[in-house]
Symmetry: D2
Subunit: 459 residues, 4 copies
């Protein structure tokens, strides 16, 4: 297992086509640096805190995010890792979709495709690669089928002896530009006649024709302006990209699903459950971070004795512990499929919903505690300005236990939580709440609940 520094060296050796705000950029760009820091942190934290599991494939310990799990304990270890990463980064760790893909492939693939996948996984584990995956196609007009808007969805456009040519794009993709391996999975199921879309594969940094166009939120605009803490979180906003595949060649060795409608269905459900469940642990960590920030703000304002505020910390803890506990429960009540331990599907989807609701509640508590200042505060540049620095210094002070700058750091961090893309990320990451409800509606054993009632009331 490598450390963050080693990851950074490797990643900077790649020459990818990455675009920010209309221009091609390299890995030193201020919108990319924070993402690299986040990736690097995942490596360092794994070493520091032992977030590894034993892999029979390579006969040694590997990062939790680069393994498929053989037991509830391993799966729980992932959730602990995730919660701590989310608390410490206060943003995306980017590698969780990689782990979801690895586990989905391990649970679903059979035969030759499984062998191919395991060979790649061995390589991943040997090199301690960072992996991500891309799922959502740009759907264009949602009232139409993929084929009616063929240029959009990722699909095979040519079949060769040595591999396939793929085209299309994926949106909402988090951090692929800073990963070693990019998995591509279908973002929905397909019907007969739509086999060209029913593919899953992996790309490597050298593959040609791949372009990454990054999102551009306000936090990212701030990142471009620099400052030490003005953009709130040194790990930056959750940075997604649109990944464009312009006639990209994929060798058969990295094609894991090919024109297989059923495999897509299984893969998608397995990935979704895996991702929704880890999302609950992730939201727990985010809420932990918000809780810490809220507590610091209370202290920076001298409000430790106002129970109407401090009790909100208890409410924030409640939603964090709930989301985390659901992930744990889901791990314990999971099942082994093809040697891979998967979380309980019902609980995973319930966890998605609890995570979203908890995040939104925590956000409101944080905002109520913080007051309006995260929206109205002057900037770090004002604090450090010759002309008005002294005023900002004087009027931004709170409790004497904090300097104005310290209080401003807290304020800017809270601004980050309240005005970044995380609200949307919480809602839609792993699919919408509605999608989770539909899963629960169809997968819950409502029949047995009906039966129980029938027995109770002698029906």
């Amino acid at each position: 297992m490598i450390n963050g520094e080693q990851y950074l060296e490797r990643i900077k050796s790649y020459s990818r086509e990455i675009y920010v705000a209309g221009k091609r950029v390299d890995y030193d760009h201020p919108n990319i640096q924070p993402v690299l820091r986040a990736f690097a942190f995942t490596y360092d934290l794994a070493l520091e805190r032992g977030y590894s599991v034993h892999s029979d494939l390579v006969g040694k310990e590997v990062n939790v995010l680069n393994a498929y799990y053989s037991s509830p304990e391993e799966l729980m270890k992932r959730y602990d890792y995730q919660r701590e990463l989310s608390m410490r980064l206060a943003t995306c760790n980017y590698r969780c979709t990689g782990a979801d893909a690895i586990n989905a492939f391990a649970a679903v693939l059979k035969g030759e495709e499984r062998e191919r996948f395991l060979r790649l996984l061995r390589e991943i584990q040997e090199n301690d690669y960072a992996c991500t995956s891309a799922l959502t196609d740009p759907k264009g007009d949602r009232s139409k089928r993929p084929k009616e808007q063929k240029e959009m969805y990722v699909r095979v456009v040519e079949e060769r002896d040595d591999g396939i040519i793929v085209e299309g794009a994926k949106i909402h993709q988090s951090g692929a530009f800073a990963a070693d391996i990019n998995f591509f999975l279908p973002g929905q199921t397909f019907k007969e006649g739509e086999e060209e879309f029913a593919i899953a594969f992996a790309l490597k940094p050298d593959d040609e024709g791949v372009k990454y166009i990054l999102q551009n939120t306000g936090v990212q605009a701030k990142q471009r302006e620099g400052g030490e803490f003005e953009y709130g979180n040194p790990f930056g906003d959750r940075t997604t990209c649109t990944v464009v595949l312009d006639r990209v060649f994929v060798p058969w060795e990295r094609v894991f699903v090919y024109r297989d409608l059923k495999a897509v269905r299984n893969l998608l459900m397995t990935f979704a459950n895996s991702h929704r469940c880890v999302g609950a642990a992730c939201k727990a960590g985010f809420i932990d971070s918000m809780t810490g920030a809220a507590s610091l703000m209370i202290k920076a304002n001298g409000l430790e004795k106002v129970s109407a505020l401090t009790s909100r910390l208890g409410e924030m803890s409640a939603v964090a512990e709930s989301a985390y506990a659901i992930a744990i429960g889901s791990a314990v009540k999971g099942e082994s499929v093809n040697g891979t331990w998967l979380p309980n599907g019902l609980m995973a989807n319930a966890g998605k919903i609890a995570g979203v609701d908890g995040f939104i509640k925590a956000m409101r508590h944080l905002a109520e505690i913080a007051g309006g200042i995260p929206g109205t505060a002057p900037s770090e540049f004002d604090l450090k300005s010759e002309e008005v620095g002294e005023y900002v210094e004087r009027f931004l002070r709170g409790s004497e236990n904090f300097t104005a700058e310290e209080r401003m750091r807290i304020i800017k961090f809270i601004e980050f939580w309240l005005m970044s893309s995380h609200y949307l990320g919480a809602l839609h990451g792993g699919g919408s709440v509605s999608a989770a409800i539909i899963f629960l509606q169809y997968m819950s054993d409502i029949k047995s609940k009906e039966e129980a009632v029938r027995k109770t009331i002698n029906l």
Copy 2:
């Protein structure tokens, strides 16, 4: 392990002072019969579904509710049992406070008191007794300390060589009148000088001076009027009582805490966490029952194709699975104290809150699905009446797959869910939501969350 029939025989052999609506009654009373059925069902279900754990004390399998747990697995078994009981009974199983007391005593007691307790526990296990516990004292004027209103709280009023005389009352007590063993624990912590209240003990059916005055809700009034299904649930409303102790003698052998402020504190927190956590599993089961009823109502109305209604079943499943998963997570992330495996305190309290919120959401979904009819329907007596039976038969019919009587049974069961004491029971059982929030506020490791933020923002 005995069966329900054996329990019933034993319980009917006791001659307790039980009062309903101002009159002394016996075990055949229509407000008590449903409670006995619920107790009996706990016995039958344990046998049918194997809800037992091995006890070293007696060297055999004992009912899950009569044991303290030595592992997460045993604790999870309890939650499964609880969820199923709640789903099947659609009301209280009455024995869960007994199990909470057993686990709290096992975790907290030491020395001679522990020995006494284990001797009683052995007897309980040998006989497969039904146990309950009583905690809440009538607090009178809440602005005063217990001593300022001495006649209210349960307390020791005389110390003898062979035991103590206790006096006072406990309220909100569920089902003690139908149990073999009644534990009494303090309902709050006490200060120095208040040692007379710092006691815990067990009573048996033959103890003199004990009076049980039952609650009297609308469902219970309906129970007194009979009918086959008019009161909705054959297991009746959750039936609590006020237990009056009029100079009751307790031999030392059954006194487990005596004038010990610290033991009370530990006992109370252990009991509360245990009870709040099982409460989450309980609410999951209640929501299961409501979900089954909602699904039957949709079918009885011919509304299976209205997705705005059926999707609510998915939302109900979400809150049920959340509450249950939190209990499971709590068991896994628990800890062993004095050889007793206790649930994770933070998660237990988070589960309490999730259970309440989930129950209230599910109640609303059920009500939206059911329409107004559970409040406005004619009675079973009208359906069976010569004068208007034919009209009720005609106008209460829904889908042809259900007779009018079948639909009415469903309606009356839903009426039960919406107008029984369960809403209050969900809110206040195991203490209020506010109490859970305060626990979380003080027991959460907010310091480490602050530290995480400090590291992230370089504070």
Copy 3:
């Protein structure tokens, strides 16, 4: 304008077929007496507080509930009357559907039908009759049209020279059995070919073939057992009935809509908006009552200084004032149709939703404040019993400012709020929340909101 006593005398002179719990009963029945008290109270309060408007039809002041309104001021007067009635009765006043029908007829009817209606209205005003209306048909299998289950819906089955014969039933009807005039309106719109259901008319106490079968909730079972305050509210549970029409003759003079699909559509929307809007004022009054009860409970428990509880009274006031203010806003922003001042439709439907959500929030606040005791308290009969009265007296006492009986009266009143049919009544009265949302979706001027955005972003 008559007083309550005069109403009672008149109503008791009618000999209607009323059924309770399978038996025919008269006006002295304990399930009917509270309803009569509520009706009577509407008369007395109108006199005491001047809830009247001038009617040109009869050239004098008439009860607000027996008039159609010519101005926002008159409509607001109705909302004030409604809020006060709901606060004072803590249950249905039964006459509000009468007022809604009167206003819907006045706004919609034209020509001869309007003349017929005005003649009846004159009679109503002259005699100060109590009026109600019935809308909801028992819909049987909801996947079928009315005609496919012809025996259910109210419909014309024979046309005569002097009038029509109607048959069918209405459910969810509040208090018709204790009113002088029963209006019947369609509960939904109909398609071509379904004209037989497109009728509206009025019945009088002497009409033959009408049967009233009353609901039977737990509160009503309690009412049958008597006691002074055991059933909580002297005005009883909201008492609805199923009204069966067994070949009832209606003279043309009282037929207002006959086989007219369009009139039905207008009538229904006008009635619904009118009823949903007054429902908001009604919920405000209900919440007022719950707020008063909560405040009394706080005092009876000696908890006046616990701000976590008293602040809930502020939250309850917030939802009450919101619901009421929406009704007022709706009156002011209403419109005159055919000389009748109708509330603003969008606001009326928004008020319905705010009323429901507010009611449910207030209910939870009340339950949190009250603690578990409204579900677990002994009965009035226990308090007055020779055997255990002294214990109940002692252990139910709270603050010294309240006797045990006083505290019990408060407790039983809160039990009423938490376990009566009002939760369902709030949700479904005037139609479900979903129906209100659909109205808002289609009637809101979303086009102009889109246009505003287009202008803002230059689209």
Copy 4:
């Protein structure tokens, strides 16, 4: 009444000290231009839609925001103006605090102070000035009184014959730098001995020693980078500033409250109620804008037929209509104080809460409808880039009825709604929700609600 162009000319003639991101800037700065556009729009809309009232002071029509109101009708006109402004600007109109101050002064001031105020008001009306007010002092350590941290709060530091010297700062101030008149009011009540803070006055553009330091949110960073629609809303983020008063001289003619604790109390409550009530109308307009955006997004995605999404538009309308109706109700049920028509205090505070809750609900509906794309979309610069523009064009297309650019404009506008400072502004504008609840708790007539219950239950 002037138009927007005339306002712009006048405002640009002022040479104020304004700081953005650490540098002094002028009115052409990209963070100020959008604010000027918003101010200008208020002028144009008033002319276009007749948002004026007659002023006896100047004997002609004046802008609704520059008048105190003499009737409910005038107050309602203000709410209509506010709602339309909020819908059209999708951000702050900046002048509403000016109107609140004018009405608070008119209702509270007496004698010479009133005369001074009226003289200024006449000047305001004659010139159609834009007015704002500043209230919140930087409170430093909230556990200390203002005097213990004397340098923070705005206070009088010297009294002269011709006026006073004031010092301190105000935070959270919206738009003062772009207004003609800046009112200063105390942000809290004070105790005896704290008279130095008990002052209220007005500043003009020429006054020396005033510095405006602007907030710096992500939207503002985007504004600095330009683009045609990349920052979402041409009117920009709600732009507040910290106003520093560095020994500013105020002539007596513009001092309206001087060392008067009671006047401060009245002024503050009057201002707060006025501002909270208009805030409800404001939130209605914001929700209108979000609803329009949501509807456009549904269309741009081809999702018009998905009722699970379109029904959310109905829910959004419900909360908008509720908030607006409460403002209207508040106007109607208001009262005349000193010739000024003030909104009903209870309803105003209830409206504040309904506005916040409605805003947060609407935000979630908007986010659920929009999907993740407002967080993950490429930028306008990417769309227009030579290198990747063609890809963005292709993959961002939705329905054929919208170009990629049109869809992107909608997306960026939604990004604005979800990641601007409006969430915080909604929560804290006019004070926190907790403050509104406390007001309701103390000002509601809970006594009369208790009395009503006492009568109902014969207590």
